[in-house]
Amino acid sequence: MTDMLSTTRQTAIERTKLVRAGLRRRHLNEAIFRGLGLAAIVLALGFVAILFVDIGRKGIPAFTQSNLHLTVNFDPAILDIEPAPVRADGQSDADFRAANLVWQRKVALLNWNKVIEASLRAAAPAGLEIDTRDLLTIAETDSRHVVRTLFVENPDLLGKTAEVDLLASANATNWIKGNIDRSLGDAQQQLSAPARALIDTLVDNGTISTGFAWSIFTNVDSRAAPASAGLLGAFVGTLYMMIIVIFLAVPIGVASAIYLEEFAPKSKLTDFIEVNINNLAAVPSIVFGLLGAAVFINYMHLPISAPIVGGLVLTLMTLPTIIIATRGALLGVSPALRQAALGMGASKTQMVFHHVLPVTFPSILTATILGVAHALGETAPLLLIGMKAFVAQVPATPFDQATALPVQIYLWQGNENRNFFEPRTAAAIMVLLAVMIMLNGAAIYLRSRLEKRA
């Protein structure tokens, strides 16, 4: 009896030894796996940090801008133009408008750079010798348009002076910020020596001051004047597309998912549809662009490079994502809830709309916002439907020509002027990322709030 007991004891001890021997290997494996996981996360975070630091370093300076405060003299000696036509008694509408147009055409033909030049000379120290070309490099090239527009709107200014805020040129801003080493020789500087000296003087006397670059948000794109190029047109274009995506993709996607998951009979056909939806989600976005160009532009004759087409293409692209996410959410609803509803005598539709949808609403909402955010950052399909055109106006309707934020980044990055592709690109990326972070934040906030309530 004792013998037997001791043998049992012996085998137990043997067994424990075996387990212990394996234990070290198991712990080692676990440690290795944890280490690898940690390393992966650190690496990923490192890359994200590098990305953000780089974009921030390049982009944040783009949000400050040097401004020129000039006293512009609308000198009749330079501006050889008669006063704006005044409506005479008995003159018809059409006649008056025609006369006004003739006058405006004359205004456009005036040399407004001379006005800018005179104003700059007035602001410069008396007796300074400087070349006209050098002088004009200080103000951004859009200045003459700004002053002209001001005059057209207020024809009474002829012979008077007005205080006008203009943008200093991107090169002048770079010089002031010290983006380019001041000790470099003339050959490596973008501005001539007299212009650089004058800029410094103007900064000292307060004619040039630095402020927040509102122009990024209030101006449309420009090709010639990097300092005045803004995102407003692209932002509005993106906004139109997002609205179209939300109003088309969300109802269609959620409704399809509900039908497929809850009502459609399980058959070969529904299986086939399901496989195809899953495949659609993996189709490269540029293919959707080709499809959009073929169907919406060539066949349906919708306008080229318009947000309506972009919105439709992005809708097609977002649909599979929303359908798959919604079906996943519906699938996750416990059968107990469905049974409870059906057991109470609820019809299938009532079961879905009274019980299943409210429970899945937070997940559907989150998936939708993330899908829309994804669409918002999509560039490739938009290039194929012509949204990479240079558009220097805010689209009034979704049928007007426009670009989108990511396309604007692409356009600026591709510009040959360093003042475009460096700070402007980074600034646009920051704006796009800010919009994305806002959307994702909204998704997280709504999700946590709605789930708490449920």
Partner: protein, 278 residues
């Protein structure tokens, strides 16, 4: 001993219940099932079940796991319709009306035959809304006061009102397991069903909550026809007047509860009751 002899013997026995067996067997029959079969795909789950369910009494289905008792219960309010690939044969009649008649609306049927499930499954809504949901979708309340009345009386009948009267707007999922199950019973009662099916209503509850539910079932028997599936033979003995024993998809034996437990006719029933199978 054959079936007929067993039944004769049954009627002679006195049952330690509020109702004597003769009474019970003479009661009106609400539900009659004849040759009910269920197939899940190619697998046959029920083989020709025929049984009568008496009015305003508790009928319990007992048997080992997988014996088909829940499947049969789910035939009675056509919950099997919701299962993909389930096919039901035979006839089940409620007051002589075939419930599988294509002209009968399943929504109406489920308003007449309520169901309480194994796991308490209140809606993730307030206690009030849980109870009010059935009357709302079936259009049973004409006004807000009507609805309030239905909710309160249903909660009272389910013995839950005193415990929750101050928090009717709080979520039903916040109650304890036993309270949730009583809420589910209140929810079923609110529609005013004639029959209440209960699928192992106490299997997820502790003994105290179980005792409360059993007491409640005993009270509800006054007004409703109740069919209960249970794993616990003691529960079947305590709450039911009629018992049916299922095994491997067959109805082996049915009769007055007292008889089934004290004097089972079939060996399988005996074995199960003695704890030899199951």
């Amino acid at each position: 001993m054959d079936m007929v002899a067993g039944k004769v013997k049954m009627t002679q026995q006195s049952v330690n219940s509020t109702m004597n067996p003769t009474d019970m067997l003479e009661r009106a029959i609400r539900l009659t099932a004849r040759d009910v079969t269920v197939h899940y795909g190619t697998k046959q789950a029920l083989h020709g079940i025929s049984i009568d369910i008496p009015d305003r009494a508790v009928t319990s289905f007992i048997g080992p796991s997988g014996c088909g008792k829940s499947t049969f219960l789910r035939c009675i309010n056509r919950m099997n319709d919701t299962i993909e690939g389930a096919k039901v044969g035979g006839t089940i009649k409620l007051d002589g009306e075939d419930i599988y008649d294509p002209s009968l609306d399943v929504v109406e049927l489920r308003a007449r035959i309520g169901m309480v499930f194994q796991k308490p499954n209140p809606f993730p809504k307030s206690i009030y809304e849980n109870v009010a949901y059935g009357p709302k979708i079936h259009g049973l309340a004409r006004s807000k006061t009507d609805m309030d009345e239905i909710v309160v009386s249903s909660l009272r009948k389910a013995g839950l009102f005193e415990e929750v009267k101050d928090r009717l707007q709080e979520p039903g999922t916040g109650l304890s397991g036993g309270q949730q199950q009583r809420l589910c019973i209140a929810r079923a009662i609110a529609v005013g069903p004639e029959v209440i099916l209960m699928d192992e209503p106490c299997s997820a509850l502790d003994p105290i909550a179980t005792a409360i539910i059993e007491e409640l079932i005993d009270e509800l028997r006054e007004n409703y026809t109740i069919v209960i599936v249970t794993h616990s033979m003691q529960q079947a003995a305590r709450v039911s007047q009629k018992t049916a024993f299922f095994h491997l998809g067959n109805l082996i034996e049915e009769g007055v509860t007292e008889d089934i437990f004290t004097n089972p006719v079939h060996k399988q029933t005996q074995d199960y009751i003695m704890g030899r199978i199951g």
